[in-house]
Symmetry: C2
Subunit: 116 residues, 2 copies
């Protein structure tokens, strides 16, 4: 394995909200994604959801409040907690989830993650 340059990987990400896998860690996918606009409300009953903002900022809306996560900041949504990430302008994120976790919380609507 080579070192993974996140900025170089993000250039290859062709669509918003489409996570691309850049590494594996103990059965988890380490992913980069470009986001803009509002994602869907969802939760992951069996796993925490790790967000690190590499560029820009996002709001992680929870049912009772909203958490702004800026460049150089991270946030972990606990398992089972409903959330909706929203980016007012394009942001770049590093995500970590167990391999096979549907990004929408629902296999029927999840995008297929791509390895780059």
């Amino acid at each position: 394995m080579k070192a993974v340059n996140l900025a170089e990987k993000l250039v290859q990400v062709d669509a918003h909200w489409h996570p691309h896998i850049v590494a594996g860690y103990n059965g988890n996918d380490v992913m980069v994604v470009r986001v803009e606009g509002a994602f869907t409300w969802h939760s992951h009953p069996e796993t925490d959801d790790f967000f690190l903002v590499l560029k820009g900022e996002i709001d992680i809306e929870l049912r009772d409040r909203s958490v702004t996560v800026r460049e150089g900041e991270l946030y972990v949504v606990p398992a089972g907690v409903e959330h909706r990430p929203v980016a007012r302008s394009e942001a770049h994120l590093l995500l970590i989830e167990p391999a096979g976790t549907p990004n929408t919380g629902d296999p029927a609507t999840a995008v297929r993650k791509v390895v780059i």
Copy 2:
């Protein structure tokens, strides 16, 4: 939980090679650490070792080669692989390991991680 500002957390790290826990993710510690100089050769038989360079650069020496990991780059040392991180000048890292993993690979010599 609030968003975790990594630069603000790093100001609180008082010694090199002393990981400070800033968040939890599925039983893993998410940590920041300031490093300089050479760490000890070690391995973690049961877990991969996740490194993300937030500032500066490090070499992750393996027995057969060395991998330079620069700011904005990540590297995952597979479980069981001997490695020695070396920083020629101070670098800041984000680390992820299962809670309780000894940083030196050996509970007898490991530092106690601090939650900040």
